[in-house]
C-alpha cells in the first residue's frame, strides 16, 4: 500500500459498490426495483481487487450478482439504476433487469442467471481471442455453487486442453443460496478441483482488497504471458440474504456477525487511517461524492421513460445487417 492515491481509489470503489447496493435494497423495499435482487455487500474487495488486474479491453462474464463488477468496470451507476428500474435508459433498455447487465464499451457479457451458464461462454470468448491472436483476457466470475455443475468441469477441461486466456474467478461466499459448501462438495478445497485439470489455481482472502489485487494481478500476468487459463478462488462472505426472498434459516446471526468483523471496507478504512492516508474530512468528502453519484443515478432512473410496449418484440432477431 505504498501509493496513497491508489489505496484511496480502491477504497472509493468499494464504497461506491456498498452504497449502490444499500440504495438498491432500499429501492427494492420501496418497490422501485422488482424481480430478483442479489446484493454484493460483504464481497466488495473481490470485485475491486480483481478489476485492478484487468485492462479496458478485457471482457467480463458475470452472474446475477454482478452489479459490483459492472460498476467498477465503468458501467455508469445511472445505466445500472435505470436498468433495475426497468427503464429505457437502462444498459439493456429494461429487458435485463438486476440479473442481466450487458455493456459493449466495458465488454460485459452478462449478467447470467443460470448457475454455471457463463463458464462456457467465457471460454468461447477466450477461444475467439486465441484464434485472433488478441492479447486480451476474459474474466469469468461465478459462485462456488457453480462448481457442482457439469458445465464447470467441462469448461475447466477445455480451457486447459485448448490453453484459453481466461481468468476463472470463483467468488466463494460459502453458501449457494442456503446450501453450505461442505453440504454440497466432497472436496471443499476448490483449488484442487481446478488443479486436477492441470489448471494453475490459487486461493486468496477475499476480504482483503490488496490481497485480491495482488493475487488477481499475478493470475492475469500469468494468463497474458502464457496464454493459458488460471483459477482464482476468493474466500469471502455475503452479509446480506441470498436475494430479497431469504429468511436466512441456514446460518446463525453469530456467524454473520463474526464475518462482519472482517468487513472489507471497515478493515481497509482502519488501515488507511492508521497509515495516515485517510482522515474524517476526506472520508466525509468521499461519502458525499458517492452519495451524489448515486442520488444522480436514482434521479436519472426515475426520469427515464419506459420502453414503449410497441417495441416489445424488438431484439428477438437482429435489426442490423451482419456487416
Amino acid at each position: 500500500m505504498s501509493d496513497p492515491e491508489h489505496a484511496l481509489h480502491l477504497f472509493h470503489q468499494m464504497l461506491r459498490i456498498r452504497r449502490l447496493e444499500e440504495k438498491s435494497a432500499e429501492l427494492y423495499s420501496a418497490m422501485k426495483i422488482r424481480g430478483f435482487l442479489h446484493l454484493y455487500i460483504g464481497e466488495e474487495a473481490v470485485a475491486v481487487g480483481v478489476a485492478q488486474a484487468l485492462a479496458p479491453e478485457d471482457a467480463v462474464v458475470a452472474t446475477y450478482r454482478e452489479h459490483a463488477h459492472a460498476l467498477v468496470r465503468g458501467l455508469p451507476a445511472k445505466s445500472i439504476m435505470a436498468e433495475m428500474f426497468g427503464k429505457q435508459d437502462g444498459c439493456c433498455r429494461g429487458r435485463g433487469g438486476s440479473m442481466h447487465f450487458f455493456d459493449i464499451e466495458t465488454r460485459l457479457y452478462g449478467g447470467n442467471a443460470i448457475v454455471g451458464g457463463g463458464l462456457p461462454v467465457a471460454a468461447g470468448l477466450g477461444l475467439a481471442d486465441k484464434l485472433q491472436n488478441n492479447t486480451r483476457l476474459t474474466c469469468c466470475c461465478f459462485g462456488e455453487g457453480a462448481i457442482a455443475e457439469g458445465e464447470f468441469h467441462e469448461t475447466m477441461n477445455l480451457a486447459v486442453l485448448w490453453q484459453l486466456p481466461v481468468l476463472f474467478l470463483c467468488e466463494n461466499n460459502l453458501y449457494a443460496m442456503g446450501t453450505a459448501l461442505e453440504r454440497s462438495e466432497s472436496q471443499t478445497d476448490l483449488t484442487q478441483k481446478a488443479a486436477s485439470y492441470g489448471m494453475r489455481a490459487a486461493a486468496v482472502d477475499g476480504m482483503e482488497v490488496l490481497a485480491v489485487e495482488a493475487a488477481a494481478s499475478e493470475a492475469a500476468h500469468f494468463i497474458r504471458e502464457k496464454r493459458a487459463p488460471c483459477f482464482l478462488e476468493c474466500r469471502t462472505y455475503r452479509f446480506r440474504p441470498h436475494s430479497m426472498f431469504d429468511p436466512e434459516l441456514y446460518r446463525s446471526k453469530e456467524e454473520v456477525e463474526t464475518w462482519k468483523q472482517r468487513d472489507p471496507i471497515l478493515t481497509f478504512k482502519t488501515q488507511l487511517f492508521d497509515k495516515g492516508m485517510l482522515d474524517e474530512a476526506r472520508l466525509d468528502h468521499l461519502e458525499q461524492q458517492v452519495a451524489a453519484e448515486i442520488a444522480e443515478a436514482v434521479t436519472f432512473a426515475e426520469a427515464s421513460p419506459l420502453e414503449p410496449v410497441d417495441d416489445l418484440t424488438r431484439f428477438v432477431y437482429s435489426e442490423r445487417s451482419p456487416e
Partner: protein, 332 residues
C-alpha cells in the same frame, strides 16, 4: 451460353461441400464438435476437412455438448463465425441450457447490444434402427423458441446452401439434417451459393390437396403424391425448409387453393410443429377448408429398435395416401 452441367452428389457430400465452401470463404469460420476432425464426422460430413484446414479450424471436442456449444456462443460474441456440430438432436439436449438460455436470449436480454452469429448443425430423425436415444425428431421443440431460426434442408441444394445462408445470419441458426437423407443421391448445381430461406418451396403443384412437410418426411409426401396422381388425385407438395419462422403465406396460399391439407411431421403429434401449422390453417383459412386438416406424425412411443416396429411408428407413404383418399372422398 448453355447452363452449367449439374453434378451428381449425395446429401452428405452436399453438406460437406457447404462446410468446405464456408471454411474457404471466411477466415472467421471454424467447425467444432465431437469427432468432426480425425474421424471425419460421425456421419462423414467433414471428411478430409481436418487435413485441408488444420486442427485450429476443424476442432475435435471432448464429450461436452453444453460447453462446446456455449463456447460457440462465446466465440461468436468474440468475432468468430463458429459452426458447432452436435452429433444428433438427442445429444443436443445436453446443450439445451446454452441454446435456449443463452444463444436465444442474449440479443433481447441485452436490449439489442449483443447478437450471437452462431450456426449449430445436427442430425435428426429415425429410420435407421437406432432406437430410442438416437432417432427422435425434436426440431419442433427448437422451433418453439423465439430468438432461434430453425432450418431443415430436405434437398441437396438446401443441404449445401442453407449452411452458407446461416453463416450470413447475425443470429443463432440451427440446421437439422435428416440422418436418413445423408446417402440420398441427386443433382447439384456447380455454382455454390447461399439460398434464400424466406419462402417455403412448392415442390410439386396440384389442385386437390396440400401435403405440407419438411426434411425426411417431405420425400414420403412426394411418394404419396406420385401414388395419388395414379388415382387421379392431384396433390400439391410443400417443403417448409424453415421451421422457424414458418412461411405462412405459402402454406395458406396453397391451402386456400386446394382446400385440403395434410401435414407430415416426424415429430410426435401432441404439441408438435404439425399442431402449430394446423392451428395457423384454422386461424387463417378455416372457411376455405373442405375437410378437417389431417396430421401424419410419429406414433407416440419412444422409437423402437426392431425394423417393423420402427417403420410402424414413423409416418409412411401409405398413411398419407389413405388420409388423402379420406379427405377427397368425403367431400367428393
Amino acid at each position: 451460353m448453355s447452363a452449367p452441367t449439374q453434378q451428381q452428389s449425395s446429401y452428405r457430400e452436399a453438406v460437406r461441400a457447404g462446410l468446405h465452401e464456408a471454411l474457404q470463404q471466411d477466415e472467421r469460420v471454424f467447425l467444432m464438435g465431437e469427432d468432426v476432425g480425425a474421424y471425419g464426422g460421425c456421419f462423414a460430413c467433414s471428411k478430409g476437412l481436418l487435413e485441408e484446414f488444420g486442427p485450429e479450424r476443424v476442432r475435435d471436442t471432448p464429450l461436452s455438448e453444453s460447453t462446446f456449444t456455449g463456447m460457440g456462443i462465446g466465440a461468436a460474441l468474440g468475432g468468430m463465425r463458429p459452426i458447432v456440430e452436435i452429433m444428433t438432436v438427442n445429444f443436443s439436449l445436453l446443450a439445451l441450457d446454452q441454446i435456449v438460455n443463452n444463444a436465444a436470449t442474449y440479443l433481447h436480454m441485452s436490449g439489442g447490444l449483443f447478437n450471437v452469429p452462431l450456426v449449430i448443425r445436427m442430425a435428426t430423425g429415425g429410420g435407421k434402427q437406432l432406437a430410442a436415444q438416437h432417432s427422435h425428431s425434436l426440431e419442433g421443440w427448437y422451433a418453439h423458441i423465439p430468438g432461434l431460426k430453425v432450418l431443415a434442408p430436405a434437398t441437396l441444394e438446401d443441404a449445401r446452401g442453407m449452411l452458407l445462408t446461416a453463416l450470413e445470419d447475425p443470429d443463432p441458426v440451427l440446421i437439422f439434417e435428416a440422418a436418413v437423407l445423408y446417402p440420398m443421391e441427386g443433382e447439384l448445381s456447380p455454382v455454390i451459393s447461399s439460398v434464400s430461406i424466406d419462402r417455403a418451396n412448392v415442390i410439386r403443384t396440384g389442385r386437390d390437396l396440400s401435403i405440407i412437410s419438411y426434411g425426411a418426411s417431405l420425400h414420403k409426401g412426394l411418394g404419396a403424391a406420385e401414388q395419388l396422381s395414379e388415382e387421379g388425385i392431384n396433390a400439391e407438395v410443400i417443403d417448409l425448409r424453415s421451421l422457424r419462422p414458418l412461411d405462412d403465406a405459402t402454406i395458406i396460399g396453397s391451402v386456400k387453393k386446394t382446400r385440403r391439407a395434410i401435414i407430415v411431421d416426424e415429430g410426435w403429434r401432441s404439441g408438435s410443429l404439425a399442431a402449430e401449422i394446423s392451428a395457423r390453417i384454422m386461424e387463417q383459412a378455416f372457411y376455405e377448408l373442405d375437410a378437417p386438416v389431417e396430421r401424419i406424425c410419429s406414433v407416440e412411443v419412444p422409437m423402437p429398435y426392431a425394423a417393423h416396429l420402427e417403420q410402424a411408428a414413423l409416418p409412411q407413404v401409405t398413411s398419407i395416401v389413405e388420409a388423402a383418399r379420406r379427405m377427397v372422398v368425403r367431400n367428393g
